[in-house]
């Protein structure tokens, strides 16, 4: 049984191994090698390739831009979703289900539905090709899922905690800030991981809503390297792909622990189970 899983794990990694091996070669070397599996002559070529990739097609600027978008938009989405979830579950708001569905419906439409009108909207309002525009969109698209998770999580926080705090004189917002939010650090960490990864890996919207270096995120920049008019060989393109993949993997290695322990989401039932 363990052996089976072991084999599976190795098989899982094979494609990635291929990417790394190729990114360690130079272009002429790649085309002259007998097979894709041949080991590179100089593994340190990887750093040269990554450095070249950084300066080509706006990869470096895209890296920084995606970092900005991932952190800010994920953070804002979690914040706004938490506020909304709090109101829908714990405050006396009319039609809580309606507000929930209204925001959640943002996740139901296939992304292509947003594409063209957003493109038009952005062009007309001057949001096109701006960092503000990108942040606004990424926040909006991250909101529905964050609301879904936070709502489910808040619903499982025992009412007694809230009542106790209220007796102590806490205002609604105080309860939110001092009790609800801190208790929710696990789903927040999970959401941050998911949303940051999604934003980082987004191709479609980064492609359509931005274009210049510094605004355009990293994944569209990577796509640009693949194009027909590009003269970069596979080693450079795959080195760029590695560069593009690095942060999400690092984030996963750091936050993965929290995610795997605390991902109770909604229906599993209990808050903060360990």
């Amino acid at each position: 049984m363990t052996v089976l899983v072991g084999i599976l794990a190795v098989a899982w990694l094979v494609p990635l191994w291929l990417v790394v091996v190729t990114a360690m070669k130079t272009s002429p070397e790649y085309f002259h090698d007998a097979s894709q599996w041949s080991l590179p002559e100089n593994p340190l070529q990887l750093f040269a390739n990554v450095r070249d990739a950084w300066f080509t097609s706006g990869m470096g600027a895209g890296f920084m831009a995606s970092l900005l978008y991932g952190v800010v938009a994920a953070g804002l989405a979690i914040l706004f979703a938490s506020l909304g979830a709090y109101s829908v579950t714990r405050l006396r708001i009319r039609w809580p289900f309606f507000w929930f569905v209204l925001v959640f419906s943002g996740t139901i439409f296939p992304f292509q539905m947003y594409l063209i009108p957003l493109f038009k909207l952005y062009q007309d309002t001057g949001l096109y090709d701006t960092q503000l525009g990108m942040i606004l969109f990424y926040t909006a698209i991250a909101l529905p899922f964050c609301l879904f998770v936070m709502r489910g999580y808040f619903a499982t926080i025992p009412l007694e905690l809230q009542e106790a705090a209220r007796i102590d004189g806490c205002s609604d917002f105080g309860i939110f800030r001092r009790i609800i939010l801190p208790l929710s650090w696990r789903p927040i960490a999970v959401l941050f991981l998911f949303q940051f990864t999604w934003i980082w890996n987004d191709l479609l919207f980064g492609l359509v809503l931005s274009t210049s270096d510094g605004v355009r995120p990293i994944t569209p920049s990577l796509a640009g390297l693949q194009g027909q008019f590009s003269h970069s060989g596979p080693p450079l393109v795959l080195a760029a792909a590695l560069l593009a993949t690095l942060p999400t993997i690092v984030l996963f290695l750091l936050l993965g622990r929290y995610m795997m322990r605390g991902l109770t989401l909604t229906a599993a039932g209990r808050a903060g189970s360990d």
Binding site: Q123, T130, F173, R216, F229, S232
Partner: protein, 431 residues
């Protein structure tokens, strides 16, 4: 109201963070009412050729030192997005001063909508240096609307070492060609590269073989004055089918010649595939794989499959267009005029190593030099490639049908009928 104050503070703080990220020029645009910086007018040049950035920059600098305007670049990473951006902004003042586009029928929409400025006067001035066939690519109703950004005659590139190994010469006629094909095949080398990856390459051998058997029919077909089901077209398709069945092509479902995961280059550089029919703009890609032009690989014009027809060669060229509604139209036209001039083209060809479109500017690649000389000596007429030569809706249907044929060669009639059906409906809306 402690509650409201705290939340408001949070929101203000958040807004401050976001505001810090707004690029300064946007703020300027909001406050000063937008517009370009005053003083020397830098022309905005939009394009979708991300990896040409350095070349554009060099050319813009050269333009400036020649006394003209400099170029400010706006690169789009994705072709579809780029096209959507130009299409939707072309009529407004947000359009760039200059932009790259595609020739022929892909340009017609832009011209009909009034998005491109008439630059016939520039061509008239330089008429001796450019081939008329090239000008036709950008001409509509007698007026010309763009300058050639790049020029790519379609050439058969071949691996010289493989040819030398089997004592083969570049073929001058169809008999030679068949000899080359058969010899290579018998020695275990795949003669011609073919792919369906990327969708568009499926038309390559269709146009090549049709032009090699009946170029007049090709021209008529592109203009809707002939049908895909005409005997001449069927004959070309049958020829194609014969070649496929004889095993002269690489497996189109496996081979790619893009750059991300190009497999053709590996096959080509290691001598397992010998030739590729492609635009001359592909040469730098092969050079990038470690083969030297003229030494390791060469080029020849695909020989006619029938005798007695007009020598014809497929060419490809994309225009640099001046936006009709651009903010600095006259400056842009002047800049384009400089670009078309000998000085402008010398700087451009030097930077890009493309094939030169001007007869008085030499092409750096020995293959291109030979190619242009052969074209001149043989009196070759230049014909636009399929992608731009006929309405694009027909092309989109056709490349899918050609892909089907490449994967399952057989009776071409059903495929040709499908394409003709689409062609009929498209031409009906145009006429």
């Amino acid at each position: 109201m402690e509650t409201l104050t705290r939340r408001t503070a949070l929101k203000l703080g958040g807004a401050a963070i976001i505001a810090g990220a707004i690029p300064p020029w946007l703020l300027e645009a909001c406050t000063s009412g937008g517009g370009t910086p005053s003083g020397a007018s830098a022309l905005q040049l939009s394009n979708d050729k991300v990896t040409w950035k350095a070349w554009f920059e060099q050319e813009g600098a050269a333009s400036k030192s020649a006394g003209g305007s400099s170029w400010k670049l706006n690169e789009y990473a994705d072709t579809s997005t780029y096209q959507a951006a130009i299409r939707t902004s072309g009529g407004s003042s947000k359009v760039p001063d200059l932009y790259t586009w595609w020739s022929g029928w892909l340009m017609k929409e832009i011209v009909d909508a009034g998005y491109a400025a008439d630059v016939s006067s520039l061509w008239d001035k330089e008429s001796s240096a450019y081939d008329k066939g090239l000008r036709d690519l950008f001409t509509f109703n007698g007026k010309t609307y763009g300058a050639p950004l790049y020029f790519g005659p379609w050439v058969t590139l071949y691996n010289k070492q493989v040819f030398d190994k089997y004592q083969l010469q570049p073929p001058k006629n169809w008999n030679d060609m068949q000899h080359v094909l058969q010899t290579l095949k018998s020695k275990g080398v795949t003669p011609l590269g073919a792919t369906i990856d990327g969708r568009w390459p499926a038309f390559i051998y269709f146009e090549t073989l049709l032009v090699a058997t009946d170029p007049d029919l090709y021209t008529k077909l592109m203009a809707g004055k002939a049908k895909y089901t005409d005997p001449g077209v069927v004959e070309a398709m049958n020829l194609w089918g014969q070649l496929i069945n004889a095993g002269y092509f690489t497996d189109p479902s496996s081979v790619t010649f893009g750059t991300g995961s190009s497999t053709f280059l590996t096959e080509f550089s290691q001598g397992r595939a010998a030739m590729l029919q492609i635009g001359s703009w592909y040469e730098p890609t092969i050079t990038g794989a470690g083969m030297k032009p003229g030494v390791d690989f060469g080029g020849f014009i695909f020989p006619n499959a029938k005798s007695g027809i007009q020598n014809s060669i497929i060419i490809e060229s994309g225009p640099l267009v001046v936006a009709a509604n651009g903010p600095h139209k006259s400056d842009a036209i002047n800049s384009l005029g400089w670009f078309m001039s000998k000085a402008g083209q010398e700087a451009w060809i030097k930077a890009t190593a493309f094939t030169s479109a001007r007869s008085d500017v030499a092409s750096p690649s020995p293959i291109d030099q030979q190619l242009l000389a052969d074209m001149k000596a043989g009196g070759y007429q230049q014909i636009n490639r399929y992608w731009e030569a006929t309405p694009h809706d027909i092309v989109e249907t056709a490349i899918d049908e050609f892909a089907k044929f490449m994967l399952h060669p057989g009776d071409p009639m059903p495929i040709l009928q499908n394409i003709q059906k689409k062609a009929d409906s498209v031409w009906a809306t145009i006429k």
